[in-house]
């Protein structure tokens, strides 16, 4: 059984990354518990802007209930804090190619002050062959900005698993006020197998007046991807507070016609305003 854990650096916010790849069991049925007792093999691939820059096909063997650390200590390319990287940890138990659910832990530490924040999220299925891209719709009603606070959104956009592939995909990113008005909209070409960081405050520079009072916004992003892991970081530069959460796909919020939603969501883009 296998799965892949998608991780993004967030060097733009001066955060160092450590990931703890776990080999536990989430399902407490007897069969799953048995499966969890086997070792988990990990290979690690690190991409920048679509190019495979680091690969270790036998990065770790993780015993049941154990973990493997991915950090600058074990993956030296993470010492490079000048670029963003997408890390793809492929995890395998046994020979079966089916998917197994597994949560892993990420820890981000501010290089300046040592403050940390941490998160658990799931690995995703491994895509065979040339992966099919599909549209994705991100709703992030968890963006705050003020004179002191900024929000960073990382999009780790997975395309073909093969190295050297750097095709892009067009994304539209809208910044929505609480009254539903679109404050700003940007288009971005997100390279497959690359990690992209949206600095909300910088994106809205000159378009929104900032004060000491924080302002909550929603970021809506649409694009094409094979798989994407999206994290949101909220940071107070004055107090050094740092928070982190992952996004949830539309499946958590509806169970109807996803194809229609994906199609219609893209119709909001272009010239149609929100007013």
């Amino acid at each position: 059984m296998q799965g892949q854990f998608i991780i993004s650096t967030c060097n733009r916010a001066d955060l160092g990354l450590t990931a703890l790849l776990r080999n536990t069991s989430r399902d407490e049925t007897a069969g799953a518990a048995g499966a969890a007792r086997s070792d988990m093999q990990v290979d690690l691939n690190v991409f920048h802007a679509g190019v495979l820059e680091y690969q270790c096909l036998d990065f770790a063997t993780v015993p049941a209930d154990g973990f493997a650390e991915v950090s600058a200590r074990t993956c030296p390319i993470l010492n490079d804090s000048t670029r963003e990287f997408l890390l793809l940890a492929r995890c395998r138990r046994g020979q079966d190619d089916g998917y197994f659910p597994q949560e892993h832990q990420v820890i981000y530490e501010c290089r300046q002050d040592g403050r940390t924040t941490s998160l658990l999220y799931d690995q995703m299925p491994v895509m065979g062959g040339t992966p099919k891209t599909n549209s994705i719709l991100l709703l992030a009603p968890k963006v705050w900005i003020s004179a002191d606070i900024d929000t960073f959104i990382t999009l780790a956009n997975v395309g073909s698993y093969a190295s050297g592939r750097s095709a892009g995909s067009r994304w539209q990113i809208d910044f929505m006020a609480q009254n539903g008005e679109r404050i700003h909209s940007v288009s971005a070409d997100l390279i497959q197998n690359g990690s992209h960081v949206i600095d909300v405050k910088e994106s809205l520079a000159g378009r929104i007046e900032l004060s000491g009072e924080s302002r909550m916004l929603t970021v809506v992003a649409r694009g094409e991807t094979a798989l994407c892991a999206i994290l949101t970081f909220v940071r107070n530069h004055r107090t050094r507070a740092l928070a982190l959460e992952h996004s949830l796909s539309p499946h958590y919020y509806m169970n109807g016609d996803f194809a229609r939603v994906r199609k219609e969501a893209f119709m909001m883009g272009g010239a149609r305003g929100a007013g």
Binding site: S118, P141, N236, H246
Partner: protein, 264 residues
């Protein structure tokens, strides 16, 4: 007769579905989504979003969230309805909505509905589940925790579950661990939380058993040095959860008094 009835059903079912597709209908909403509320030394904000309009931007409508706050003993503190414009969102600050005399701990619930009960616009969404996040902070803003909800009111019960968090927490860095549990069911729940030291032989310590009233909540605090935990990795585990995904929220406090937080 059975075959005649069967044939009639074969004809009537597609006809019924076809009529239903053409008729306006209420936005079908799942049970209220719940999340912990922290008052007192903390501030809590919730972010409600009109996501059906963003999923159907060709036919957007305002929506309404019915929100409520419950005290730790399960008593309802307040109930409000919030209208959200198309493509809009609302940042809920509970003291602005429910008054300043709020408990130090509790549970927030939110359930979305259409502002117009009869509309064609959102039938294709199927059943929708309310969408929000919670942001917790201390009073001087030196700590933040952003957490998505994990369970609904009346989700399947989990009192027989044996659960262990996948988080590996570092006792060398953490001085105090706070766990918040909510019980979004109409029944009191007997639950237990404890810590598990990682290692060749896992050790189990810091048992915190308790009963959470229906729609109630509780806060559990471990002072790690008092437990002799000043180094090594550990995790949180539970004997029973109020619902099968009502895992606690964890706040990990560091030496400087700040915390970070996460869903476990």
């Amino acid at each position: 007769m059975p075959s005649l009835w069967g044939n009639a059903k074969d004809v009537l079912r597609p006809l019924k579905r076809s009529v239903e597709r053409r008729m306006p209908g209420r936005l079908k909403a799942a049970a209220p989504v719940v999340q912990a509320y922290l008052g007192g030394e903390y501030e809590t904000r919730y972010t409600l979003v009109n996501f059906p309009s963003l999923y159907s931007p060709q036919t957007p409508h305002p929506c309404v969230y019915d929100v409520a706050l419950y005290a730790p003993d399960g008593q309802r503190v307040g109930l409000r309805s919030l209208r959200i414009e198309k493509f809009g969102s609302v940042e809920v600050r509970p003291h602005e909505l429910f008054g300043s005399n709020l408990p130090a701990l509790g549970m927030f619930t939110a359930r979305i509905r259409a502002s117009n009960p009869f509309t064609f616009a959102y039938k294709h969404l199927g059943t929708v589940t309310s969408h929000f996040y919670a942001l917790y902070a201390d009073r001087n803003g030196s700590s933040l925790a952003l957490v998505h909800p994990q369970t609904l009111v009346n989700a399947p019960r989990g009192e027989n579950m044996q659960w262990r968090s996948g988080y590996l927490l570092d006792a060398a860095k953490i001085r105090k661990l706070v766990a918040i549990q909510i019980n979004p069911t109409p029944h009191a729940a007997d639950v237990g939380l404890y810590l598990v030291r990682e290692g060749a032989v896992s050790t189990h310590l810091g048992d915190m058993d308790g009963r959470i009233p229906a729609m109630g909540s509780r806060k559990v605090i471990w002072d790690l040095p008092t437990l002799g935990m000043t180094q090594g990795l550990f995790s949180v585990a539970a004997r029973g959860l109020p619902t099968n995904n009502a895992k606690p929220i964890l706040l990990t406090y560091f030496a400087d008094g700040s915390f970070c937080g996460m869903h476990a």
